[in-house]
Amino acid sequence: TAKQSNDMDLLRQIQEKGELVIATEGTWAPWTYHNQDDQLVGFDVELGKLIADKLGVEAVFVEAEWDSLFAGLDAGRYDLVINGVEITDERKEKYDFTEPYAYIKTAIIVENSNDSIHSFEDLEGKQTANTLASTYATLAESYGANPTGVDDLSQTMELVLSGRVDATLNAEVSYYDYIKEHPNASIKIAALTTDASFVSIPLRKNENTESLMNEINKIIMELKESGELSELSNQYFGVDLVNQ
């Protein structure tokens, strides 16, 4: 864990320690998860390593529950959270966000035989489920659905499959990942958002993080331009989520 005093530039602290402490869930494939050899991998993890590399320091990953990531960030235990965090206006009030490094579309996933949902408007009065740590509940509610939450993605899929809910909202890429593991699962995408939301790295809002923010922004731009990031995306998602 990082031990740091609040009155010193974060970038300088990181460079002095020689390590960048990155917090991530480690339980959200393909963003951040453990492969069969139990190594922490994923799109976010690779990005973190690249950033640390470019800063000339070592990447140290810390894994915790989703909400603990932010508690630890606030407490100064971690330098960064890289965990597929979507930018919203409300969140911007809390954190400064770097350049987006990916975009995602939200999908409505339903049981194969479900014929009643073809668009977000069809969610009106329907029962939906989503993971707690997400913005999906707000989204579903805005279309008049009745959202309940559970802890993880697999639970939401179970709920759809057992018919306990009509649909689940989730990242399109998560659906594909699930299908990869369960090719025979009787689910399908019923609709996709037209506007993508952007994924970025949140930083604590204070002047100490400014130089780090600039540095990371530079690095993300570089990675985008060089195509490295797209390559990573293809590797993990099978599609390029970097350039819309």
Binding site: D67, R91, K94, A137, G149, V150, V165
Partner: protein
Amino acid sequence: MNERLIEILIDSFWKIVVPGLTMTIPLTIISFSIAILLALFIAMMQMTNNKILNQIARFYVWIIRGTPLLVQLYVIFYGLPNLGILIDPFPAAVIVFALNTGAYDSETIRAAIEAIPKGQLEAGYCVGMTTPQIMIRIVLPQALRIAFPSLSNSLISLVKDTSLASNITILEMLMATQRIIARTYEPFALYCEVGLIYLIICTVLTKLQHKLESTFKLEY
């Protein structure tokens, strides 16, 4: 604390309290009531001379205490549908919490019964009472008084354990909190807020415990 945070906390107060009133508290009360009855029953079963009843009770306590509540919720909610049994979230939660708390409480009650001197039971026999009659009128009133603080422990734990019901789509206080955190990214402050609300509920229970404890004080 900045203004934004204060606003969030105020705004979220009712969003957390409402599921507390409509879900956490009813779920706790219903489950606990069933659990206590179950626990009495199981404690009795463990103490009879009937080997089969004995084994059944021991098996139940062993399985339930031995596995995490979360897994029990999974089995009932996500496992049973495979056998064609689809139970709604609320009854499923009641079943699991009652079964779970009942197993723990049965051990507490058994211990308390064993703490009552045998002479009490024997005196009951000698005035012609049957074992169940003695249990209900003589032994249990004394035993429950001894078990009381431990049973309060289990009730107060249950209040907070019901938060696991979020795993089976029940919107209780912790889930309500986590929803707000997902939006605002203020886990620490919001967890402290929900902690405070739990504290209020548990304060009522603790006061009640102390009140009942002194009302039913037994001296010997």
